[in-house]
Symmetry: C2
Subunit: 137 residues, 2 copies
């Protein structure tokens, strides 16, 4: 099971009280979501009034640099985070509710590499987001 605190320790990160709280909050919120900084701050600050939003910003940046979490900039203007998983996946965003669904498609991954190569590039990163509306029936 995913545990941000444990991942941080494994990476040798110095864990302060604030970082522990923030790690736990991200772990909990990631079960079913892609929280933004403010959402993380609200939850963390509730557990520990001593946590400022500046620290949340500094901490998610740190966690990201250490590969513990990943940052996504969807079209809603703020950055959202999720715990790094073993397997890569992309996202489909419900434009009416903001709900984020994950999916993987090996076929697309392969084509992307091919496309890049044909243009004379080595693929180092990519961004694939689908935006849709729920089909009612």
């Amino acid at each position: 099971m995913i545990n941000v605190k444990k991942m941080c320790l494994d990476k040798g990160l110095r864990m302060t009280e604030q970082r522990n709280v923030i790690a736990d909050v991200i772990t909990a919120m990631s079960v079913d979501g892609h929280p933004d900084v403010n959402e993380i701050f609200l939850n963390a600050n509730e557990k520990d009034k001593n946590i400022s939003i500046a620290t949340v910003y500094r901490t998610v940046k740190l966690f990201e640099e250490y590969g513990v979490i990943e940052k996504h900039d969807f079209k809603d203007g703020r950055s959202r985070y999720e715990v790094t998983e073993e397997h890569h996946h992309d996202h489909l965003i419900d434009i009416e509710t903001g709900e984020i669904h994950e999916f993987t498609n090996e076929e697309i991954e392969v084509i992307q590499k091919t496309v890049a190569k044909e243009l004379g590039f080595k693929l180092v990163d990519h961004r694939l987001e689908l935006y849709g509306v729920k089909i009612k029936k």
Copy 2:
């Protein structure tokens, strides 16, 4: 040939002196690039000292709403624009130079629709960006 000013007239947009200048600047810059607001402003202001950056912001937003240009938020933090073309395409960004290349891949388009459908969604928009480094040989 692409001409933003003409596209605006076709859409029935009221064309002021500023909008004409900005339209021309975008037309010229789009030949080989994806300019951001500041770049557009610099060029427009050179032609007409009376153009403020606020007007450029308001104008690109207007042009975008009318479907004349398209906005892209690549990973460099500011919005970039390009003239709307008949056929959709995606982008590959050289992470070392910032150069932007365009490509189309019908196969990926089809798979995206399929993926969305499988998740119970109708695809209304998508974002596909490849980030790579030039292959040296």
